[in-house]
Assembly symmetry: C2
Amino acid sequence: MVTAEKVAQLSGVSLSTVSQVLGDRAHLFRAETREKVVRAAQKLGYRPNSSARAMRSGRLGAIGLLLSTEEHRSSLFEKMLVGIYDELVRQNLRLNVARFPDKALTDEGFVPQILREWSCDGLLINYNALIPPRMVELIQNYKIPSVWINSQRDTDAIRPDDFGAGVIATEYLLKLGHRRIAYASYSGGGHYSTTDRRDGYAHAMKQAGLAPQIIGAQTGSSFERSQRIQASRQWLEQSDRPTAVITYAGSTALPIIMAAIGELGMRVPRDLSLVTFDDSLFDDCGLAVSTMVIPEYELGQTAARMLEQKIKTSGQSLPSQVLTMQLVQGNSCQSII
Amino acid sequence: MVTAEKVAQLSGVSLSTVSQVLGDRAHLFRAETREKVVRAAQKLGYRPNSSARAMRSGRLGAIGLLLSTEEHRSSLFEKMLVGIYDELVRQNLRLNVARFPDKALTDEGFVPQILREWSCDGLLINYNALIPPRMVELIQNYKIPSVWINSQRDTDAIRPDDFGAGVIATEYLLKLGHRRIAYASYSGGGHYSTTDRRDGYAHAMKQAGLAPQIIGAQTGSSFERSQRIQASRQWLEQSDRPTAVITYAGSTALPIIMAAIGELGMRVPRDLSLVTFDDSLFDDCGLAVSTMVIPEYELGQTAARMLEQKIKTSGQSLPSQVLTMQLVQGNSCQSII
DNA sequence: CTGAAAGCGCTTACAG
DNA sequence: CTGAAAGCGCTTACAG
C-alpha cells in the first residue's frame, strides 16, 4: 500500500509537506519542492486514503441511495441515478447504493448496514411504494440527514406532480375536441402516482362537465400481461368507445395499440388518440406516443441538492418540492373538431 | 456526533470495552457489562464510524462500479446491479457507483475521483462499448483489483455467450422446420454483442447449408425509431420474406410486430415466427416473444464474486468467464413441418 | 474480566 | 518556505 509517508521518503521531504503540496496548499511551496513530490507520487501511484481524510474532516464524503427491492420501472431508475450522480460529482461526493426489501424492515431486529454503520453523510430514499414506518423510525433515531424521493411527505421530500399532469393531459385532449376520453391503467401498486394521475384526469373531466371513464385494474389488482391485448380489445370494440385514451404508462399503451391496430384494424391517431406517461417520449414500437414526461433526471438532481443543503445545515428540515411534468408531443393525437 | 468514547462515558466503562463488546468479543465480558454498553449505545444512537474501522483494517469495505455514460439498456443495468449488490451484502461490502463519459478519459489530465482517491478495495467495470485504453492504463498504474463486465478480455472479465446464443436461437428455429430465417438489428453500436449474435446466427445457418439473411443497420449505423416500422414493412412485403426472424433485442422486435400485425394483417406466429434477445421474456406488448435471456443477475453476481476473490489475493489474475444464455419460450414460434 | 496504549493515514494549526 | 506534533475514531495486542 502506497502512503503519503512513502512519497515523503522517496522525495526526501516531510510527510506534512507531501500532504500540503498534494492538497490545496501547493502555492506555499517552491516549484522545485512541488515537482519532487508530484513526481514521486506519480511514480508510486499514490492515492490518498479517503478514510483517513474522512476521519480528519468529520465528513464521510459520500451519500447513500436507498432502494426498495419492490419492482420499479427501471429506466426511470437509471435516469434518476444519473441526475443524482451528476450533482454529487459537482460536490466531490461519492454515491453509495443500498437496497433491501420492505419486509426486512418490519423485522424488529434488522438494521441494514448502511444505517447501522456511519458510512454516509446523508441519505436519499427512493421508495416507490409505501415507506415502512420502521424505516422512518430508524432514520429519525439515528438523526441521519435524509431526502425522500417520490414521496408525499410535507418536508424533506421531492416528487413529480402526478395529479397536475393528469389534468394537463386531459385538458390537451379536450382542446383537440375529444369528449369521450378514457383513462387506462393495467397495473396496480401502492404508489400514489397510480391514484394521482387518475384523479387529475377525473378532476379535469368533471371541470369540463364530462363523466370520467376509468378502464382497467383498480388499485391493488393488476392485469397479467398476456390478458392485456384481449382486455383492450373488449372495450375498444364497444360502439361508444372513447376517441382518446390516457394511459398510466407506456406499458399500458402498448397492448392497447396492439389490439387497436393489430386486431381491430384501427389507426392511431385517426381512430384513436393516445397520451401516456413515461420517462421520455414513448416510441418503443416505432409510433411516437405523446407523453407526459416524468422529470426523472431533475428529480434526482434536485434531491441531491436538497440533501447537500441538509448536510451543511446538519439535518435541518426543508420544504418538500413538487416538479411539474411537460407534455412532449408525438404523432398519436388528432384534433376532431 | 456520537462516538464510542461517549458510549464509554455514559456506561461507565473504558473505550476499549465498548469497542470489544460491540465488536466480536462480546463473549469475553460479563452479561452486566454487555448490557450497560448496549443500552448506552442504543440510547445515544451510536453508529461506528466506518472510516475509522477502515483505517485500522486496511480495507475500505467498499467496491466501486464504473459505468460509461454511453447509452446502455437500462433494465439490463438494474438487474445486474441487483446481482452485484446481493453478493456484496453477503460479504458486508458497500457499493460505490461512479460514471463518466468515454471522452473524459481521452483527456490526458483527467483522472476520475474514484481512481484518484483510494476509496474502494476493487472495481467492477461495466463498459458496454469500447473500453478507452487510457482507462485500462490508469487502473493498471494504480494496481486496483478489477473485473471487467461485458468485455472480451482474456482474463478478469465476464460476459454472456452472445455467439453461442445466436447459434441456439437459430438451431431452435431450424428444428421447427424454418429455412428462410433472417436476423434483424436496427441499432448499431460498438459492442461485441452486435456482431457476436449475428455471427452465431450466420454460423448456424451455414452449418445447415443455408444462406444467412441479415436485415437492418450495419455496424456503426442505426435506424431512427420512426423509420423502423416502415423499414420492417418493406422486407416483410417481399414474396420470399423470411418465415422466422431473430431480432437483436426487444426494441427491434416491436416495430417488426407493428408492421406485420398492424400494417400487413399478418399474425404471430402463424405468419411469422420470432425469437429475440432480452433480459427477460419479452412480453411488453402483451405478446410473449420467445427470448434468449441474457443472465444479467448472474453476470453481476459472478462478477462480484470474482472481484472479492481478487481482492483477497491482492489482485491476482483470474481466468475470464462466459455465461450461457437460455431460451425462454413464449408464444411467438410455430413449427412449419 | 477490563483498561491503557499504540497506531491505522491523513490534515492542520503552530513553530521555526 | 518546511517540518514536528497532535489528533480524527476506532481496534487490538498486551498488561494487570
